[in-house]
């Protein structure tokens, strides 16, 4: 037909590809060193973790994880010898440092708080977001653009500035340092993201599906439930994961508005200390446990990432 070959004239040369690939791989490797270091540190003993020069090869130990989940007290060797045999690996490890386990640490309750607050607020935000997004997508809402901008603009506010009146309001309402208070707050922050993302996803579902369903005798509500929701599952799942990641990672509100019973993991992890300063293997262990779910989600989400981080502005 013509002289054009199968290859585009503008395809990068193999040399260019080689150079580009080398630089990208180098950047990728350097940029995950801090993460690998967190992982490695979590399996070091405290002396290994602060060795100079930093140890790359070391004897792995789960002392960091033991320390993360327990509180310990220093005892005399005589006292430790008078105790019965160690009741587990952690007990044994701790005794070698002349300490005994005094009880569980606060990490587990804080981690559970994170789970409750993240999942609770995600559920609420996605529930409200799906309804609103459908409303904005399918009905003529007066001032729709203004309302949508209003919903987005609440996300621009600096968290510390929002926290001042919220702190006072929650004190009046008895919501200070409660999971319910944090769930409400994170729902409010996340619902803007949920509405914007889901509106994009629902806009992409052809209206004809619902119309066909309604001609078959479904009400609008049934059509929404039976045809739109199943079609929007991917979008809802992606939105939920974004909300979950935000709530999971959030620090500023949590640090200012929670102190004890409802404290989440992010403000707690930096406060993990051992004898004579920060217990870095324990901090690294807590960080590792905290980050693993996000790593899994990031990989699941990689095709939707762009959409999520730009509030649906860029869809690709």
């Amino acid at each position: 037909m013509s002289l054009t070959t199968a290859h585009s004239v503008v395809a990068p040369s193999s040399n260019a590809k080689l150079i580009a690939g080398t630089i990208i791989i180098a950047y990728a490797l350097i940029s995950i060193v801090p993460l690998l270091w967190i992982f490695a540190t979590s399996f070091k003993t405290p002396p290994d973790s602060i060795a100079y020069p930093p140890k790359i090869v070391f004897q792995p130990s789960i002392e960091g994880y033991c320390n993360l989940f327990t509180t310990r007290t220093r005892q005399t060797p005589e006292y430790i010898n008078s105790l019965g045999p160690a009741t587990g690996f952690c007990d044994e490890t701790v005794r070698k440092r002349n300490m005994v386990i005094a009880g569980p640490s606060n990490f587990l309750p804080r981690f559970v708080n994170s789970l409750i607050i993240a999942f609770g607020s995600t559920f609420c935000a996605v529930f409200l977001g799906t309804l609103s997004a459908y409303g904005f997508s399918r009905f003529k809402v007066p001032l729709a653009d203004d309302l949508l901008f209003f919903i987005l603009s609440t996300r621009f506010m600096p968290p510390i500035a929002v926290a001042i009146p919220i702190y006072l309001m929650y004190r009046e309402l008895g919501l200070s340092d409660t999971a319910l208070g944090m769930i409400l707050l994170y729902t409010a922050v996340n619902v803007s993201l949920a509405v914007w993302l889901l509106k994009g996803f629902i806009d992409e579902i052809p209206r004809e599906y619902e119309e066909a369903a309604m001609i078959d005798g479904y009400t609008r509500l049934q059509a929404f439930w039976r045809t739109v929701l199943p079609q929007a599952t991917t979008g809802i799942a992606a939105t939920a994961i974004f909300c979950l990641i935000f709530a999971w990672n959030e620090y500023a509100f949590a640090a200012l508005l929670t102190s004890g019973t409802a404290q989440t993991a992010p403000p707690f992890i930096p406060t993990i200390i051992g004898e004579g300063g920060q217990d870095w293997p324990a901090v690294a262990a807590g960080t590792t446990i905290f980050l693993v779910p996000i790593l899994v989600f990031t990989i699941l989400l990689r095709k939707q990432l762009l959409r999520g981080i730009t509030f649906g502005a860029v869809r690709k």
Binding site: S8, V9, P12, K17, A20, G21, Y27, A28, S31, P34, L35, W37, A51, P53, P54, L128, G135, F136, R138, F139, V141, F150, S153, P158, P159, I160, A161, V162, A163, I164, P165, Y167, M169, L184, T187, S192, M214, T219, L221, I245, W248, N249, E250, A255, L256, A265, P266, P267, I269, P270, Q278, V283, T287, L295, T298, L305, L306, I309, A313, V314
Partner: protein
């Protein structure tokens, strides 16, 4: 008889689809669906905002709730605008925003351009690069304190290994000169992938045929880059700058954990000042006024920027 005719007429008239619905009307349903979200935002965002505006005209202190609240008029605002420390904090914030955005845009765009060469395995490595931005800035930022520790920290060790400076002298977080850069480095490490991802979408949105036409016209690669690639990716770059700009204007997590605003007040950005005034000195009225000023600044900047963005898009 008449009734039946009317019935028949009514049946024959095609009704708008929406009216067929049994139960709630479309309009009712729309409000039923949208109002919970609006009510929640009014309760958790707008009501507190108005409360903050009220407080900003008073001398209220949250740690002394029983004291008589005095109305101060605009004097909180006057004091803030005349407060040397606030201006220094704003300058520090501007310095952070400028450098983080510059570095992230340059590195992010370069990475995106390289990934767009579509070498083998580029999708996998892109995913690896994206990981840092999904993580908690607070939890990961906290760990960077360890990497920055003089001597035992990996970062300090590598710097001293490469430069030959004694390892105890690489004090990233306690040196007045280095502390701001310590934060800029972590922020850049974390958020460059964000800019990269958006730039990549921009580069991929450029249709191939434009390059083919340029090739036919024998435009040099350099010329193609400046006349096609960059202008066409610009709206995307600006979108990334907008998002990063707003986020970094609010920067709190990393600074609070890495330096807490120190040494002295060299890294005290606006959010840190606000936290100190509101939750350490408990000057609630005064800090509310500062919070309102910050709102206005963020909204103002965002608005100007969005307008500029739309202009670029229209071209």
């Amino acid at each position: 008889m008449l009734n039946r005719t009317a019935d028949n007429v009514a049946r024959a008239t095609p009704e708008p689809l929406a009216k067929k619905i049994r139960g709630i009307s479309d309009k009712g349903l729309a409000w039923l669906f949208i109002s919970p979200t609006i009510l929640l935002l009014l309760a958790i965002n707008i009501f507190p905002l108005f409360w903050a505006i009220y407080l900003s005209f008073t001398n209220y202190r949250a740690n002394r709730p029983n004291e008589v609240v005095k109305n101060l008029g605009l004097s909180n605002y006057q004091r803030i605008l005349g407060d040397q420390d606030i201006w220094i904090a704003m300058q520090t914030t501007a310095h952070f925003v400028f450098w983080t955005i510059l570095l992230q845009t340059v590195i992010g765009f370069t990475l995106a351009w390289l990934i767009d060469r579509k070498f083998r395995g580029h999708a996998f490595w892109t995913t690896i690069i994206l990981v840092p931005m999904m993580l908690s800035p607070a939890v990961v930022g906290n760990f960077w304190r360890f990497l920055y520790e003089p001597q035992i920290g990996l970062f300090s060790y590598v710097v001293s290994f490469v430069t030959g400076i004694p390892p105890t002298n690489v004090q990233m977080l306690s040196n007045v000169e280095l502390a701001p850069w310590a934060i800029i480095i972590v922020d850049t490490w974390m958020w460059t992938p964000y800019v990269m991802l958006i730039c990549l979408a921009g580069l991929r949105s450029i249709p191939e045929y434009i390059y083919e036409a340029a090739e036919v016209d024998r435009a040099s690669n350099w010329r193609q880059f400046w006349s096609i690639t960059l202008p066409m990716a610009l709206p995307f770059i600006m979108l990334a700058v907008l998002f990063r700009g707003i986020e970094n204007f609010k920067m709190f997590d990393m600074v609070n954990l890495l330096t807490g605003g120190g040494p002295g007040s060299t890294t005290e950005v606006a959010s840190i000042t606000l936290k100190r005034q509101a939750f350490e000195s408990w000057r609630t009225g005064y800090s509310s006024a500062f919070a309102i000023i910050l709102f206005v600044a963020v909204f103002g900047l965002a608005n100007i920027y969005v307008k500029a963005l739309n202009k670029v898009k229209q071209r």
